[in-house]
Amino acid sequence: MFKDLDPILHSQLRLAVISLLIGVKEAEFTFIKEKTNSTAGNLSVQIQKLKDAGYIEVEKQFKDNYPLTTCSITKQGIEAFEKYVKALQGYLHTNKK
């Protein structure tokens, strides 16, 4: 049914992460965790997968002696997201007919 959909994006948590990042310049890991209602471990794994695919950039630094991870979407990630949404719209359009 969804064979044309990007498998990297077609997963609940990864899609949620990309949807959060699409409209922002950057977001902190804790923000993404809070908004997606996910566990730190699971989120870390999914973020790594998105990073490996080249869809997001992850920057690790320290703020007030605490580690701070910031994520931002890449150009490749934006293109993949746009393609994914277009494909979804195509499916919905086909189903309506």
């Binding site: 997963s11 609940q12 899609l15 699409i22 310049k25 923000f31 996910s38 699971n42 499916y91």
Partner: protein, 229 residues
């Protein structure tokens, strides 16, 4: 959130929409910077107006207040950036606009202070000077230094610039209205003396920053109160 859950098309779109909405709802602007900037510029402009109207000398140049206000402005900006765990694209762009605005104000102050003195120097080199001549002969001619006519109108125009951009980009009506009224006041200031330009500048600072800042502050406190309940 379960990563492996198989999503339907509708669920996927719903998830995308809900995440975008969550980002929209997550950003809070406290309005502190706008209030501070509005108060300082309004106060400085009004002090100059009052000193001309009531003929007294100010102990310090009031626009030093504007420079002094830049320090807490930077502090609040860093503090707000720390509170907000997410930075929107539009905010990054608006920050740049305000940075360029700050730099432009600084350079305009420089221009207002340097250009007349340099013009006087050039005039001297060419062997001429500016003379104030009363056409009705009521007073004797007097030598005056070169000046930039209605310089504060330029400041008013510059004050409006970042306000309009912020208002339009953020779809924040109080700033759009403030910007439009300020453009009208800029035109009015072209027809008034320096003294009244300063009064107009006071009004511009109030409508461009102080009032929108107070509205933002009220919204921010309301949001904070509701999220604490």
């Amino acid at each position: 959130m379960n990563n492996e859950k198989q999503l339907s098309e509708a669920e996927s779109l719903e998830l995308i929409t809900s995440m975008i909405q969550k980002v929209k709802a997550s950003y809070h602007e406290s309005g502190t910077s706008a209030i501070l900037w509005g108060v300082v510029v309004a106060l400085a402009s009004f002090l100059v107006y009052a000193s001309i109207t009531f003929d007294f000398t100010l102990p310090i140049e009031p626009f030093w207040l504007v420079f002094i206000a830049i320090v807490p402005q930077v502090y609040f900006s860093i503090k707000e950036n720390k509170i907000n765990k997410v930075k929107k694209l539009e905010d990054a762009a608006i920050d740049t606009v305000w940075l360029v605005y700050g730099l432009s104000i600084l350079l305009l102050v420089m221009y207002a202070n340097i250009a007349p003195a340099i013009s006087e120097k050039f005039a001297k080199q060419e062997g001429w000077q500016l003379i104030k001549h009363y056409t009705n002969g009521s007073k004797a001619d007097e030598k005056i230094p070169p000046f930039i006519p209605s310089i504060y109108s330029l400041y008013i125009l510059l004050y409006t610039f970042p306000t309009m951009i912020t208002g339009i980009v953020k779809k924040f009506k109080p700033m759009i209205i403030g910007g439009i009224v300020s453009y009208v006041l800029f035109i009015v200031s072209c027809y008034t003396t320096f003294q009244y330009d300063m009064l107009i500048g006071t009004v511009v600072a109030i409508i461009c920053w102080l009032i929108p800042g107070l509205i933002l502050r009220a919204k921010y406190l309301k949001q904070r109160k509701s999220s604490n309940v």
